[in-house]
Assembly symmetry: C2
Homo-oligomer: 266 residues x 2
DNA sequence: CGTCTTTTTGAATACTGTCAATTTAAGTGG
DNA sequence: CCACTTAAATTGACAGTATTCAAAAAGACG
């Protein structure tokens, strides 16, 4: 595995919004309990990524993003649903994917606070995948039509949206390579390092975290069976790279884990 | 393999522009030998996909897309190059991908006439992959900045660009699934059926065609070794699904090939 | 005509998947 | 609170598939 490639994987978290502490109660307007002014939201500046200007944020207020709570196991949108919103995760964890006709599910991504879901719906006007909460979560629903309107009046805003989409392309690209040419150990290492980076970028610990998804879900995402995921966790533990207790992970040798990615230059 | 999924793969050619016979010589303006008026180009209506209005086409003329010939083996753009253009393939075949640090290459897509390349560059302002011609080819270079400008003034145009990008997301999505959960036979069947569909959509024969890429390139794309690709071709031939003569393919049992995709419901 | 590349095929190996059993944790209801 | 049920995770044994290594055949090209 080349360094360039591992960087591509590590530097390509799901579409990022930067970190996002949950909004405090006083940020809410009493009149519209499910809406929040973006300029009063803690996401401010951090929301819609990388250099959204103040004036843009003020424009966003006009949209009055609807906030919503989603309970663990609930589905935010389903494959085939009309595409109206993109969703910014404020807190909690989601998985996206689709149900295959034979009942199995194919997981296509995991999303944590500060990341954007739903951009795949732009193509067909309906969602190409479903999004399910892996724990109680909160989201902002951003009406895509408004975003389009906003973009028409503001080239900077359009750039932001375009970049978000292009980033999702790049993200899938990375995953593709991962699935195309990596061993089970490399896949799991890439997954853990990517997850670790994303948590770190949002102010959480990079070295110790709790996975909200099952072995089967990780396996589906990585193109492995759940038994293989479990075995690989055990193998990493024996190599003293991790301490694993069910879904609680402590990375004890970050460098070693990275090398597990590079080790495939044989 | 579910029907829904196979359809997703089949219905998701690389970003599509519909078919496009090569422009006749008289379409060229004598003053600018490397530029063509879009409204005079055979790509007209068919260019930028699915419902581009006449007025949009007229606007496009303002861009005066530069045409260019690319010789077999030449690289149109490289990973890391500044992102300025997206490229519409007018004729010929391209592969996209990147060179891994250890020298191996990772192929991420194949593009034929009427398809768009380069959208992955929007994210970072530089290309995330390289594009190489697999045979002599012609392309239109579309300045992305102009497209953005145009989009600002025209919501319809913006939609078109957004849809193109979202489609690329969906395309990668399909490939991802393919790499994540399919056997060698299923992968090659999916590849051939997808290719066949794309050729058909552009007016070529769906049942008989010439592959412009090597076994190694197909393998890289599908996450298989070249030997496995070769063996799988042979297997399909023995199953009387194909007639294979090196790169010349004749599909003798389209239904059977499709069933090879669905056969994984075990 | 000879060299180089691509493709095909064979044999042995390695890895992941499959099947099955066990352990652990988390609920559920008496 | 405990027995019972259910779901998740771990581990072992074995099978199946793709990879690796190697060699030969077939074109492509100068």
């Amino acid at each position: 595995m080349s360094l360039a490639m591992s960087l591509a994987i590590l530097d390509t978290p799901a579409v990022a919004l930067r970190f996002v502490p949950p909004p405090s109660a006083h940020a809410r307007t009493p009149v519209a309990p499910l809406k929040t002014l973006c300029s009063a939201c803690h996401l401010r500046e951090l929301c819609l990524p990388c250099g959204m200007a103040g004036s843009d944020v003020e424009r966003l207020d006009g949209l009055m993003f609807a906030q919503r709570r989603v309970k663990a196991g609930d589905t935010l949108y389903r494959e085939g649903d009309r595409f109206e919103f993109i969703y910014a995760v404020r807190g909690g964890t989601f998985k996206t994917g689709l149900e295959l006709a034979d009942g199995r599910e194919q997981v296509s991504g995991f999303y944590i606070g500060g990341e954007l879901m739903g951009l795949d719906g732009v193509a067909q006007g309906k969602h190409a995948s479903s999004a399910t909460a892996l724990e109680d979560a909160q989201i902002c629903a951003i009406p895509y039509a408004h975003l389009v309107q906003l973009s028409a009046a503001n080239a900077g805003m359009q750039h932001i949206v375009s970049r978000l989409m292009s980033r999702e392309i790049v993200r899938e690209h990375s995953l593709m390579m991962l699935l195309g040419s990596m061993s089970a150990e490399e896949r799991l290492a890439a997954f853990l390092l990517n997850f670790s980076q994303r948590l770190k970028a949002r102010g959480y610990s990079a070295g110790e975290f709790h996975l909200r998804m099952s072995r089967a879900e990780i396996g589906s995402y990585l193109g492995l069976k759940l038994e293989t995921v479990s075995r690989t966790f055990s193998a990493f533990q024996q190599q003293r790279l991790l301490e694993v207790d069910k879904r609680h992970i402590r990375i004890t040798d970050m460098g070693g884990l990275s090398r597990a990615l590079e080790s495939r230059m044989h």
